[in-house]
Subunit: 125 residues, 2 copies
């Protein structure tokens, strides 16, 4: 609710009673809160030497995160494509699935991440 | 930096000095912070009767938000598609462009939003 008050102040994210009459039928987390928590988990779990840096990608929320959910993220590296124009760089196609403790899918995000060849400094290549 | 400490704790979002050696070359906001601020601006500016509710969409950050940026969002309704299965509902294709005070594009997000026919209660249809 603190997140929603700052970034997504709508009744279904803030008011347990009013949320009953909405699409969500009960309190639901902002999708952007699910996305932000997912990013924290990715930063803690995806071991890229120069950090997790992405330019975006398709994002979807098949169901909203609910009070009591415990989220975990499973990241799959689906491909690595060397850059044609910059020999020290490449891009990683990743799929990040966020599920709750019952295995219900709360978010799918498929970013393209930037990666560097071993020994190449990110500020240079 | 408070947002990044909670959700995207990486040096280029937190440490002005260390960020010089990174891809961003200077302090950059987390893309998820840009996304969260964008959502706040959308909630304040897009007048949908039952709230702004989306299932996601393609998201990209052509450039990072920087210290001193003042963001504004321009939302275009690109189409409205009535639902085949639920006569009281439809979906709105929107394009939300987030720019800074110099017109530099910081984010593009193209969500599908849920909308209801006038007089239809969201919890019912």
């Amino acid at each position: 609710m603190e997140f929603a008050r700052s970034y997504d102040p709508q009744p279904f994210h803030l008011d347990p009673e009013a949320s009953a009459e909405t699409f969500f039928k009960d309190l639901a987390a902002s999708g952007w809160h699910t996305a932000a928590i997912t990013m924290r988990l990715i930063v803690e779990s995806v071991p890229l030497a120069n950090g997790v840096i992405g330019g975006g990608g398709p994002l979807r929320w098949p169901s909203p995160t609910r009070a009591g959910d415990v989220l975990r993220v499973h990241t799959t590296i689906e491909g690595i494509v060397p850059s044609r124009s910059r020999p020290g760089r490449g891009s990683i196609n990743a799929r990040c699935l966020t599920r709750n403790q019952h295995g219900e899918l709360r978010q799918e995000f498929c970013p393209r991440l930037i990666a560097w060849k071993r020994g190449v400094a990110p500020a240079e290549a």
